[in-house]
């Protein structure tokens, strides 16, 4: 819902989810190998020992139905196996449960197969992944793994625990801000406020890398519409006539100047100018003068000195990381430095920062915002949720993919990520996601904490 409609009638933001199974089967997590002759021998022996008590001799160890076919362990249902290992613990000489090597094909750049599986689960169910037992992974790590978010022992956003999470806001404003307000003698503001609009989520769907995949563009547009956020699409795809135009941001490539959209319900149109080439920079200021009513997004490489751009008139900046930058160990620090430099220059509150910084999991989004971004742009997780074959260039999507299926999958993914963001915000005691932005005092960087905790211990050295 946009700001203008919000003002007409209040409604609590809610993103509907529904089960949306995969179109392409996902390999089961485990392979279950049974030595059939030993199994048959065991059953025969037990039948003799129990004098034909079938209830005992045919009783099976699995509670998840892996041996639930009429022939039991002779033909296991591997898709039901959760890796509890009870069968192999009980019958080590007979059953062997192994990680399924076929799962390796799920891996994607920067994501292990299990992490991709999590994205598939989120897209399939729309749920927050909840599991028993503690954390199973490595102690910290690099990049996003090398930082933690804070929690609050007693401060609550709503004083209502989990039942108050629905009142936590994930809405974000996109647009410039005046550094100060000046009033005339009549008490009216002198300077017009820059164009501004709301989105309900701090995620935008970035389809600028799409080639000729109009069906995917339509899915992004429809998802953005339903979720109350934005889809960034190449201007040539962004046809308001065929798609839900008010949730689109047209990305105008280098050298082109066309592509204005009309915002619905009085919202300002949103144009993103591809300024990745420094030679194009002046286009931003020129277009600003030509389009006073539009929200202009300056798309620039991560690492660009942003202060001069803001001085030149940039109100919304979309920083884009290369794949190398996305996978760099110090990515969070780069974002932190970018944010802190703008704070130091007194410019941070004048600009909205969107980042295409390799956000691949829900936790990355929360951490990227804590490091200073207002919004994160998603691409790879979207393609994974749509079961794209990333091995082909451009990514190939399932042939049976429909608008409804694709939209349902992305809606589920976004809903799951929003709910996970609410978990984080609730734990941190934050009432709205805007308060998470640049909340560096509530971040915990592994190397800094290790220096404090282990710095005096012989052999400890700072991580390179």
């Amino acid at each position: 819902m946009t700001a203008s409609t919000e003002s007409k009638t209040y409604r609590r933001y809610h993103l509907q989810t529904q089960p949306m199974p995969e179109l392409t089967p996902v390999p089961p997590r485990f392979r279950v190998r049974v030595k059939r002759h030993k199994l048959i021998a065991l059953v025969v022996r037990e039948m003799i020992e129990t004098r034909g008590d079938l209830r005992v001799s045919l009783s099976r160890p699995c509670v998840y139905g892996v041996f639930s076919r009429p022939v039991g362990g002779l033909w296991p249902r591997e898709e039901n196996c959760v890796g509890c290992l009870r069968c192999t613990v009980q019958y080590p000489e007979m059953v062997r449960v192994e990680p399924n090597p076929a799962r390796s094909r799920l891996a994607a750049p920067g994501l292990a197969p299990d992490q991709v599986d999590t994205i598939l689960y989120e897209a399939r169910t729309g749920r927050v992944p909840v599991r028993g037992a503690g954390y199973r992974g490595r102690f910290g790590g690099t990049s996003w793994d090398g930082m933690w978010l804070d929690m609050s022992e007693i401060v609550r956003p709503t004083r209502d625990g989990i039942h108050g999470r629905e009142t936590i806001s994930t809405a974000v404003e996109i647009g410039g801000k005046l550094p100060t307000l000046t009033f005339d003698d009549a008490g009216q503001p002198v300077d017009p406020a820059p164009p501004l609009r709301w989105v309900e989520l701090p995620f935008v769907l970035d389809g600028t890398g799409l080639a000729d995949t109009t069906p995917v563009a339509a899915i992004l547009a429809e998802t953005a519409f339903r979720a109350g956020t934005l889809a960034l699409l190449p201007a040539r795809f962004a046809d308001p006539g065929s798609m839900t135009g008010d949730q689109l941001a047209a990305v105008i490539p280098s050298g082109e100047t066309d592509g204005a959209l009309h915002g619905a319900d009085g919202d300002p149109p949103l144009l993103e100018l591809d300024l990745l080439d420094p030679a194009d920079r002046q286009r931003g200021a020129l277009r600003r003068a030509e389009s006073p009513g539009a929200i202009l997004v300056w798309r620039v490489p991560l690492g660009t000195d942003l202060a001069p751009l803001i001085t030149e008139g940039a109100e919304v900046i979309h920083v884009v990381a290369t794949i190398e930058q996305q996978l760099a160990p110090d990515l969070p620090r780069q974002l932190r430095a970018m944010h802190e430099a703008l704070v130091e220059a007194g410019l941070r509150d004048r600009v909205t920062l969107i980042g295409s910084v390799g956000v691949r999991q829900a936790e990355h989004a929360a951490k990227a915002i804590a490091c200073g971004l207002d919004l994160v742009a998603l691409d790879l997780p979207l393609w994974l949720a749509l079961q794209a074959d990333l091995g082909s260039d451009p990514p190939r999507f399932p042939q049976r993919m429909s608008l409804e299926w694709g939209t349902g999958r992305l809606q589920n993914l976004v809903a799951s990520w929003r709910d996970q963001l609410l978990e984080v915000l609730g734990a941190m005691g934050l009432r709205e996601v805007r308060r998470l932005r640049g909340e560096l005092g509530r971040t915990i960087f592994q190397d800094e904490m290790e220096r404090e905790a282990f710095g005096e211990i012989a052999g400890w050295e700072p991580t390179a």
Binding site: T50, C62, R131, F139, M151, H163, A362, A427, I457
Partner: protein
Amino acid sequence: MTADSRDPVIRKHIHALHDGFDAWPGGSHGSPPAMGDARWTAPLILSTWEQAAGRPATLETGTGASGGGFDALAFRFAPEGDRADPAQVALGIPLNRRGDGPSIEIPIPWYGAGMSYGSVSEEVMLARAMAAKEWGTFTSTGEGGYPDVLVPYARHVITQVATGMFGIREETIQRARIIEIKYAQGAKPGLGGHLLGDKATAAVAAMRESVPWVSLFSPFPFHSVYSVEDHRKHIDWLRSVSPGSLISVKVSTPTDVDMVAVGSYYAGAHILHVDGSYGGTGAAPEIAKKNIAMPIELALPRVHRFLAEEGIRDELVVLASGGIRSADDVAKAIALGADGCVLGTVELVALGCTRCSNCERGRGCPFGLTTTDPELSQLVDPWWGAERISNLYASFERRLRRIVAGLGLASIRDLRGRTDLLVYERGTHEPR
């Protein structure tokens, strides 16, 4: 209940399971290829089974493969001539250093963590209580109420008061020598407890005074506690209900964990139980386990130093939890600044847990641990379980004695905060 009185189907599976727990650590079947993770490697799980069986540990028992924290720390043992006699090492720690309230000392520097009725079965709770009694230490009810079967073990059972207030009654508070206020849990800091509907059976719901088969999400935090002053009133309330009980405060590890520690001291706590973010849980959002609050290894030095700087370190007992898997971890946590530790997951591993992370679903644990299913619960005989945990404790005790003696110390208390006796070896560890 004796094994013979059980249903033949249950008997068959118990027999096979126990055979398996004995067979796997022996190595004749190799290592289960799908077992283990970075924190709990297959050798560590199998070694825990081996210790729980009462056999000398032949497998790696000290560390996991997480690449940091406890797994990157080793001990700087003293030269042979400077080592103490393990048999003479004192492992006991006091649980009250404040001078008010009863004096309680436990002979080993750990007790059992809170696991609620509902998250685990009554049989498991009973096994843990029996082991605690045998060793003169404690176990905790968790936040699911106080089953009657634990009453005979009341001197060794901590009553936990958590935000859901499930099953909290005057008598359950009054019978406890230690009352534990759970403000937060490391695995899901800031989120409150989760018990998914499938595990909220009629019996569990009756204990919690809730509705069967409806998920229970504990609030967060206590709605009566939003300041240190409120915290003080909260403790005063419990002390007025049970003046003879010690008060333990369980908190997580935010950036200001040092301030939380000081606040707990001034609120009147006897024990500060710091639960790190890599701790166990019956159910928690994955995003919370990995990403919110810091691991215990990083929090302990901060707490220890700040309390020392405030001049109150010797008045507050600091216990560490959240990923304590071995006697080596206990010693390392103490060297980083704790007085002792609180054990949770490792006790379940001793009972056969494979760390498969399916505790939250459906009927719960297929090994009869984190389940409330009446059939699966029978897989754990409380007497068998108590023996397994006792055996594990005995193994921990032996190893801890060797570590402390090897460092040239006479008492575990002398190890507290001695980071100079540690060495950081990322990815390696002290050979046993």
